[in-house]
Amino acid sequence: MRVNYLTDGPISKKLISGLIEKMGEKTDSGGHMVFFGQVRADEIDGKKVKAIEYSAYEELVRVEGEKIKKTIFSEFPDVKSVDIIHSTGIVKAGEISLLVFVSAGHRHQAMQACSKTVELIKENLPVWKKEIFDDDSHLWK
């Protein structure tokens, strides 16, 4: 089961556990590198971020997501799998909004491929965010 690419609301502990459960299935993997992006309770001009509201262009997310995976697989031949999950909608401070899960035969490519995937997501995935403050005002990022 692959959940790529979008999920409504925060990325649940259940979804994460599901990915962790199946790590051992591939005994040709020697390393898994996982990135979790979390909503930070930043303070801006005396106001605290209480949540981020994400919106995405779903069709294009799918197109660009596939391109990202293709890039990773061709650049890192030791990589066995890449999972990308991004939240849409409201994600509160302390909750997870991005998960990148990369498995590879050896650790170096797992690490490099995971970092690169996160960078490509930031660059190419059509997702937008609106920071929502504790006084209910908001700021587009």
């Binding site: 992006g37 994400y54 919106s55 995405a56 262009y57 069709e59 294009l60 197109v63 991004h86 909004s97 991005l98 996160v118 997501i121 930031k122 660059e123 190419n124 995935l125 059509p126 997702v127 937008w128 965010k129 609106k130 587009w140 990022k141």
Partner: protein, 77 residues
Amino acid sequence: MEVKVLFFGVLAEVSGTSFKHYNNVKSIGDLKLRIQDEFPEIVHYNFRISLNSELTDNDLMLKSGDEVALMPPFAGG
């Protein structure tokens, strides 16, 4: 002929809608002028364009049923 235009991120706020249909627009350039006329504030924002889920920088011709998206800089993660 009619094209569908999607507004994302802050542009949905500026235009007050997430999508809108436009009639009789020949090209992306033509469409942009129509949108600027309707929402003058939009000129203050940077955005990229996609046509039918493909990013483009060109002033492509439009046909009926096309979907054009106006997208501010991506901010995922």
